[in-house]
Amino acid sequence: MTETSRWRRLPVWLFWSLATIVLWGAWGLVSKIASGGVDAYVNQLLYTAGLAPLLVFVALTVRRRSRRESSASGEGSESQEKRAARARGVFWAFLTGILGGVGNLAFFQAMVKGGKASVVAPVTALFPMVTVLLALVFLKERLGRVQWVGLGLAFVAIYLLSA
């Protein structure tokens, strides 16, 4: 099998998943390098500058799609209920950004304070344990046996990594 056909056989979702691993994996590395010469606040400013081109791209995409959808369904046909749901969705997205940004500040500060990239990245990657715990407590979701094992293993991992 040639290299080209091998790539063609790669499912699209797998390509995007591998791209995510590379991008986020490299993010941990560059954050550690940057932590040697800049504080967490300035890093957040520069980080946002790096995010800006993607923001513009996504904003244009969303705008194009909104125009297409509104011309297809007729202007002003959106019900009040739909508008309210959208406003709530925007609120939660905005809150996600604020919490994520403050999380970024803490992540960067961990590195500024001497945390190794090879330790801070695995510790912070355990964030699904909090999501799972919140879903368990507030959303009354049930956990499978595998998730319980994952939760236990997460605590063990933090203990080992902090040694």
Partner: protein, 145 residues
């Protein structure tokens, strides 16, 4: 407790909460629109940070490049993860696979930054990645009591 560990756990907790808030958002609006507002929140946060930040000229070029690249890499990573989910990948598989990203950071930090992990920390890193994968696997559907 090490100071850095306290900040790392704080990041873990805050990012963990975003797992819920993001779901509450994407239940109501598209992931693209949700991501857009996520980015606007970052801009708003940065504007607030300007009040306390003391940006100064003379930062080393390499440091500036790495900080800016950090924003681009993290943002693009979020975008590619959405694409992975939207292009037919099963959520439990995609998220489990993506959970491997700290492994790459560990490898790069050891190879390029010369970081060394103790045996205990190495075991911790492996346990952390395994835990993240297990946590991302969806619980089987159970009958309502």
């Amino acid at each position: 407790m090490h100071v850095w560990l306290g900040f790392a756990v704080l990041a873990l907790v805050l990012w963990g909460i975003t797992g819920v808030t993001q779901k509450l958002s994407t239940n109501r609006i598209s992931s693209e629109r949700s991501f857009l507002w996520f980015c606007w929140a970052m801009v708003a946060l940065s504007a607030a940070v300007l009040v306390v930040a003391r940006p100064h000229w003379g930062l080393a070029t390499g440091v500036v490049v790495c900080s800016v690249a950090g924003g681009a890499l993290n943002g693009l990573g979020a975008w590619t993860s959405f694409r992975a989910l939207e292009s037919g990948g099963k959520a439990s598989i995609v998220i489990s696979l993506i959970s491997l990203y700290p492994l790459l950071t560990v490898v790069l930090a050891v190879l390029l930054l010369g970081e060394r992990l103790t045996w205990t920390q190495s075991a911790g890193a492996v346990a952390a990645i395994a835990a993240a994968i297990l946590l991302s696997l969806e619980a089987p559907q159970t009958k309502q009591a």
